[in-house]
């Protein structure tokens, strides 16, 4: 307890500590050791991403520069993604059939619109 005497009063800690401060440290920092109960790293990372998604609207997250889930297939509905890819391929094929000379242009336009 002698050490405690020299310390300044705690700031913003205890039950009033901001949840983000606590989760940031408890979940994201600290020593990583694989226990007997396997919670692999990816799970915790996914979890924090999910939390961000739960608590922030997508727009807000984008505003803060968090947008990497958009390219992470694990975080978007695989089925929907596949569906979109298939639809895209079909559309491109149809465009190419309609106007074979301008395939590239048509492709660019269709991407801009989507």
């Amino acid at each position: 307890m002698t050490m405690a005497g020299r310390m300044p009063e705690p700031y913003g800690q205890g039950s009033g500590a901001n949840l983000a401060d606590i989760l940031e440290r408890v979940l994201d920092k600290g020593i990583v050791i694989a226990g007997d109960i396997r919670i692999n790293l990816l799970d915790i990372e996914l979890l924090t991403i999910k939390l961000r998604l739960i608590v922030a609207s997508v727009d807000k997250a984008k505003e803060m520069g968090i947008d990497w889930w958009e390219t992470d297939p694990a975080l978007s509905s695989r089925a929907r993604r596949d569906e979109l890819a298939r639809e895209n391929a079909e559309l491109r094929e149809r465009l190419a059939r309609l106007d074979p000379d301008h395939e590239l242009e048509a492709r660019e336009e269709s991407e801009e619109e989507s």
Partner: protein, 254 residues
């Protein structure tokens, strides 16, 4: 109670008693498991929440997660008062005491090295927020024409841009001066306002490793900048948290 073993931290043996009413995750008071001259701080936790499948589900339950994270932190916090703990990541769970001992033996050298590096040091968190000032409706006369409107809009945008630039510069300068005072520093990602419930944009979110003995000066240093930002309606805010266990410095060698 049997059950699994939840490990909060590893530390050197210490004499001072832990806070008497201290409860860990799942309400079990933390116990000290001594092995090879090191201490693992451990709670017994039920399998129904902490074995593999339930834990996976529980971790996605924000209420459960919040409660567990706070319990974890309160044990680390209590340890920080009496010693220098090496905090483990939340939800490090073993089947029994001997599993914990095996882990301690395997990591013994790492633990000792890191404990030595962090001994007598704590972590302080410093954040800078900035907020564009809401223009008071009275201050801006109603635009008489389209051109007026555009002129007003342009000047508002320019004022905002100036503010953001000043705030960025302030944050950079603050980080530089605090880093030079601290033994080590880490920059964290800006915080999500929905989780932190803080207003304004989080421009700087940093952690500083500071010896306990010079913590008071560090806090004063931060307090002085707080006065500076409060002075002129700058739209900036400096927030200090701590002392934390050296979470941000425990994981990697620097």
């Amino acid at each position: 109670m049997t059950g699994l073993r939840y490990v909060y931290a590893v530390c050197h043996p210490f004499d001072a008693p832990l806070q008497a009413q201290l409860k860990g995750v799942a309400g079990d008071p933390p116990r000290l498991l001594s092995h090879h001259g090191l201490i693992a701080v451990v709670s017994h936790v039920p399998e129904r929440d902490f074995s593999e499948e339930p834990l996976r589900r529980r971790l996605e339950d924000l209420d459960w997660l919040t409660e567990t994270a706070r319990a974890h932190q309160s044990v680390i916090d209590a340890l920080t008062v009496v010693t220098t703990p090496l905090p483990l990541r939340m939800a490090t769970v073993f089947r029994d005491d001997s599993g914990v001992r095996v882990m301690m033996e395997a990591r013994e050298d790492d633990f000792r090295r890191t404990l030595e590096r962090l001994a007598g040091r704590v972590e302080w968190g410093v954040k800078v927020y900035a907020e564009a000032e809401q223009q008071a409706p009275a201050a801006a006369p109603k635009p008489a024409s389209g051109r007026d409107y555009l002129r007003q809009r342009r000047s508002q945008v320019r004022t905002d841009e100036d503010m953001w630039q000043r705030a960025e510069e302030f944050a950079t300068r603050l980080h530089a001066s605090l880093s030079s005072y601290a033994e080590d520093s880490r920059l964290h990602a800006p915080q999500n306002p929905a989780l932190s419930r803080a207003s304004g944009r989080n421009l700087l979110n940093a952690a500083y490793l500071v010896p306990r003995d010079s913590s008071e000066e560090f806090v004063e240093l931060v307090d002085r900048t707080k006065d500076e930002t409060r002075a002129g309606g700058s739209g900036m805010r400096v927030e200090l948290t701590g002392p934390w266990a050296a979470y941000s410095f425990a994981g990697e060698q620097s």
